[in-house]
């Protein structure tokens, strides 16, 4: 053994020192690494650590309810569960996906695609993978809390739109907020928010929506909740009360059932909309549940356009209802004396063309009152010729046509009042005097919406006070626009409109209401010319549109109703009875509302009789 030790005691001290220096340098280098992480970048990593352990679970604020004028609930919510997927640990999620898809009855590729589409969202934000979960889905999530912690349930209040498409166009519907709206909202909307997409839901979204709250919980690496840090409660959206009267609304919708058309009932004293119906309609629940592309396509391509709110978006020729505007123009301008008369032989030639009265036999000599009651076309041809297009245009637009009424609904259309300037601007052509003759009876280029007609006629009956139509019950003074009409003008017109319904020879005599001063004007507007129609073999699409606009009582009107039935041919037959039903229902309700009648509620027959005596 000794032989091995001989000159072995001289050790390479220098190399040992080098080894030591190497160790010291490595230690310093590592210390630098830790210093950088723990001192220089600690803020960043502290945030990442918090993001790991803290999960924010949203608490969805319920949207406000929508009530009718008497507080009856028109639109409410129902509690529902959404299934949430926490994506904090994607490798866990990936492994569990097939089981999740099977448990929730979803297609695995769809689920994968859903997750891929949300890849741009921050990962700590849970993803809604299924809305309106069934009891079986809820049971699946609850029973797999331990082995699939990435799944969670979120209680949400979902919109429960009324059945039978009730008030569909007015209420509108909600849907997931679009990226465009998020960008415009300046941080108010977040991805995944449910917002109003149309109708009142959209118009008053900021009132209805409320503010979501959140709960901050601590989770471990497997996603299991270990404790709660804090909770910010949700602020529910506020309810809104409408001027809509549920009874009148139902009446309007029932009467329109199976037809194409619209009904608008206004309180001309306030501008409050008592009823607004448009048919055909759609089921807003389809939208709220997330409409499929196929459903959307079928709604959009439907030739009857169920998505259109005809009350504010159907721009059609007003037909003979326009004669009321003509009458106001004639009486307010001094071009013609108020006792102006015309002899109607059934037709008359103007500018080399024969214009027919709707009654081939003619009306004989008629004054303004008779002309309105019998809706004599020849009389108004003459009035129109003498007033000229510019005067007609001036009065029509000041009486509320050709411009937005300003109702609190998105998407209102303005209609059109033609004028010389309009023709020049649009077609770069001069106005031909012959066109004025057509305009005088509400044909030609003139278009109106049912809402505009109710607004305009109501304003005229009010003596030139045009209350802005609104659906929301307002607490302050009602916004209005005035275009004063002389009391004589108003009296002549309202008396004549009373005659339309109440004179035995009036065009709407069949819709007379006993004990109610129901006034109105019928109209039927051509959609296409007579020659073209003869080729169409009587297709409903191209039959005349039936109009009726009525109000009651004769002075100080309480209600004005505008009815459009497309293809209804005659206003007196198709439209006037609907208006009559609504006015009648309005008076019945009014009687019930009066305290002195309240005691006798048990006997509806008595009530009706008393209402009739008003």
């Amino acid at each position: 053994m000794a032989s091995r030790l001989d000159d072995d005691q001289k050790l390479p001290q220098g190399r040992l020192t080098a080894l030591w220096v190497l160790i010291v340098l490595a230690t310093l280098l590592l210390l630098f690494g830790f210093w950088r992480l723990q001192v220089l970048d600690t803020q960043h990593y502290a945030e990442l650590a918090n993001r790991n352990r803290i999960r924010t679970i949203p608490i969805i604020a319920p949207r406000g309810r929508i009530l009718d004028r008497d507080g009856r609930v028109l639109l409410n919510n129902y509690p529902s569960f959404s299934v949430l997927l926490d994506r904090d640990s994607p490798q866990v999620v990936k492994a569990d996906l097939p089981e999740i898809a099977a448990g929730l009855g979803m297609a695995l590729p769809d689920l994968r695609q859903q997750i891929a589409a949300a890849a741009w969202l921050p990962r700590y934000q849970p993803l809604v993978i299924k809305t309106d979960a069934s009891p079986a889905d809820v049971a699946f999530v609850e029973s797999h809390r331990a082995d699939i912690p990435a799944l969670d349930l979120l209680m949400v209040q979902r919109r429960n739109y009324p059945p039978d498409d009730f008030l569909a166009h007015v209420l509108g519907y909600v849907g997931d907020v679009s990226p465009k709206d998020i960008a415009k909202s300046q941080g108010r909307y977040l991805p995944g928010d449910v917002v109003g997409k149309s109708g009142l839901e959209r118009e008053y979204n900021s009132i209805l929506m409320g503010t979501d709250g959140s709960r901050r919980v601590v989770v471990d690496s497997r996603g299991i909740v270990r404790g709660t840090l804090g909770e910010k409660p949700a602020i529910p959206g506020q309810s809104i009360r409408l001027t809509i009267d549920e009874t009148l609304q139902r009446m309007a919708e029932n009467d329109l059932d199976g037809k194409e058309g619209a009904v608008v009932a206004l309180d001309p004293q306030t501008g409050g909309v008592l009823a607004m119906a448009s048919r055909p309609a759609f089921d807003p629940n389809q939208f709220a549940e997330g409409i499929s592309p196929a459903q959307w396509k079928s709604l959009n391509d439907n030739p009857e356009h169920p998505l259109i709110n005809r009350a504010i978006q159907a721009q059609l020729a007003p037909g003979s209802v326009f004669k009321i505007i003509m009458a106001a123009a004639m009486l307010q301008s001094d071009v013609l004396p108020s006792n102006f008369t015309v002899y109607c032989p059934g037709s008359q030639a103007f500018y080399g063309r024969v214009f027919h009265c709707w009654d081939k036999h003619g009306h004989g000599r008629v004054d303004l009152r008779q002309a309105i009651i019998h809706s004599c076309d020849v009389f108004f041809y003459n009035v129109g010729m003498r007033l000229g297009i510019d005067r007609i245009s001036y009065f029509a637009s000041h009486l509320g046509l050709g411009r937005l009424t300003g109702i609190d609904l998105p998407g209102e259309d303005p209609g059109l009042v033609p004028s010389v300037a309009w023709k020049k601007r649009t077609f770069d052509r001069p106005w031909y005097p012959g066109e004025t003759i057509s305009v005088a009876i509400g044909q030609g280029a003139t278009t109106v919406t049912p809402l505009q007609l109710a607004y305009s006629i109501g304003g005229i009956a009010m003596g030139g006070v045009f209350k802005r139509p609104h659906l929301l019950a307002l607490s302050g003074p009602d916004p209005e626009r005035r275009f004063p009409l002389s009391p004589d003008t108003v009296k002549v017109i309202t008396d004549a409109m009373y005659g339309v319904v109440n004179d035995p020879g009036g065009t709407a005599a069949a819709s007379r209401l006993k004990g109610i001063e129901f006034c109105g004007k019928t109209g039927s507007a051509q959609v296409i010319s007579d020659q073209t129609r003869s080729h169409m073999a009587g297709s409903k699409r191209y039959m005349d549109n039936a109009w009726f606009v009525g109000f009651a009582p004769r002075q100080d009107p309480q209600i004005v109703v505008s009815v459009l039935v497309q293809g209804g041919k005659e206003g007196a037959l198709a439209a006037a009875p609907i208006a009559r039903d609504i006015v009648q229902a309005f008076y019945q309700e009014k009687a019930q509302r009066q305290p002195q009648y309240a005691k006798k509620e048990s006997n509806p027959a008595v009530e009706t009789a008393q209402a009739s005596e008003n």
Binding site: T27, L31, V39, L48
Partner: protein, 362 residues
């Protein structure tokens, strides 16, 4: 020529440093496991006690006597590694474990010890200050055979730890610079071969993840990322023992073992890490000092080998925790939980003590 050996002559500075590191380790093992795996800290305490006993026993043993039995130990080691490959227990997908009396042992830990002894014996017998090429090749074969057997288990981490022992030995024996150059070139050339024929898919994944962590931040990169978050969020003073969210909520992977430094960094902060690395630096300084004072070259090679392998463990583990190195499964000596690994360190230090106690004897 029988040496007189006194226990009082042990390196008490070194023992104090070892004790301090063990205490730190026990604290953090407790903090990391007391919720889910209570009882681990007691077992580790048992291993530490056993370790001190082994240290004392080995210090009594003459290292020359051990070196004389190097060939026998080498053959036993090769035999044991083959047995493990054939009949070992599979844990975490690798056959590394054998049960001795019902207690699982990781034999490759003891292989490290044997390699240190065998190299010390071989290099001291070469008796030169300029390592010849033939001897260098012999060193390569001596280390290469067990290294391949360990790689087959597969245990990349332990296999890699054989490298610093060899490098340190060759360096202290006076390797020639042109041989160093040749070895570096050879290693560079063999890398692609190793990539295709030696490494398992999960090992490759760890390395690609390390090189491109952004490529798969949720899969293999998750461990390193979570470790970095734990360390970084600890800040200067830490979140307090038992209060690290990354540690307590289970975001730090194997937080009681390979990533215990991440847990420690989170809960005790940079201050705690600084203190820990300071203790290690002190420990290594003690080891180098003992190597300097060794009676002969064989003793120096023994102590140098121990210093090299322990330093390698510490540096690779710490670098992994802060994302500077791929995940290799190399624990932090004396601090990480683990029976075989702890026992190995104490036995290696026992050999060092054996060299120390005999430094003045002639």
């Amino acid at each position: 020529m029988k040496a007189r050996v006194h226990t009082v002559d042990l390196d008490w500075w070194l023992i104090a440093l070892v004790a301090a590191l063990c205490c730190l380790g026990l604290l953090e093992v407790h903090s990391a496991t007391h919720r889910a795996m209570a009882g681990m800290v007691w077992r580790q305490m048992g291993w530490v006690g056993l370790g001190f006993l082994a240290l004392w026993l080995l210090s009594r043993l003459d290292y020359q006597w051990v070196l004389d039995r190097a060939p026998l130990l080498y053959m036993l080691m090769l035999g044991a590694l083959v047995i493990v490959l054939v009949a070992g227990h599979a844990r975490f997908g690798a056959r590394r474990w054998v049960e001795i009396g019902g207690i699982p042992f990781q034999l490759s830990e003891f292989a490290k010890l044997v390699i240190i002894i065998v190299l010390a014996r071989f290099l001291s017998e070469v008796r030169t200050d300029r390592l010849a090429l033939a001897d260098l090749v012999k060193v390569g074969v001596l280390v290469g055979v067990p290294l391949v057997l360990i790689l087959l288990q597969p245990d990349l981490g332990t296999a890699l730890t054989l490298v610093p022992i060899t490098v340190a030995g060759a360096f202290l024996a006076g390797i020639k610079w042109r041989h160093v150059l040749a070895l570096v070139v050879l290693a560079g050339l063999s890398l692609p071969v190793a990539w295709h024929f030696v490494l398992k898919p999960y090992q490759k994944a760890r390395i690609t993840t390390f090189l491109q962590p952004e490529k798969d931040p949720q899969g293999s990169g998750y461990q390193i990322l979570q470790s970095e978050i734990a360390v970084g969020s600890g800040g200067l003073w830490g979140k307090g023992l038992g209060h690290g969210s990354q540690n307590q909520l289970g975001f730090v992977p194997v937080r009681y073992s390979d990533f215990i430094l991440a847990a420690l960094g989170e809960e005790l902060g940079f201050a705690g890490v600084f203190f820990t690395l300071l203790l290690y630096a002190g420990l290594f300084s003690c080891l180098i000092l003992n190597a300097r004072q060794a009676k002969d070259r064989a003793g120096m090679y023994l102590v140098g080998g121990v210093a090299a392998i322990l330093a390698f463990h510490v540096f690779v583990n710490a670098a992994m925790v802060i994302g500077w190195m791929p995940v290799t499964g190399i624990p932090l000596p004396l601090v990480s939980y683990g029976g075989s690994a702890t026992l190995f360190v104490f036995m290696a230090l026992g050999l060092v003590m054996s060299v120390r106690l005999r430094r003045f004897v002639n």
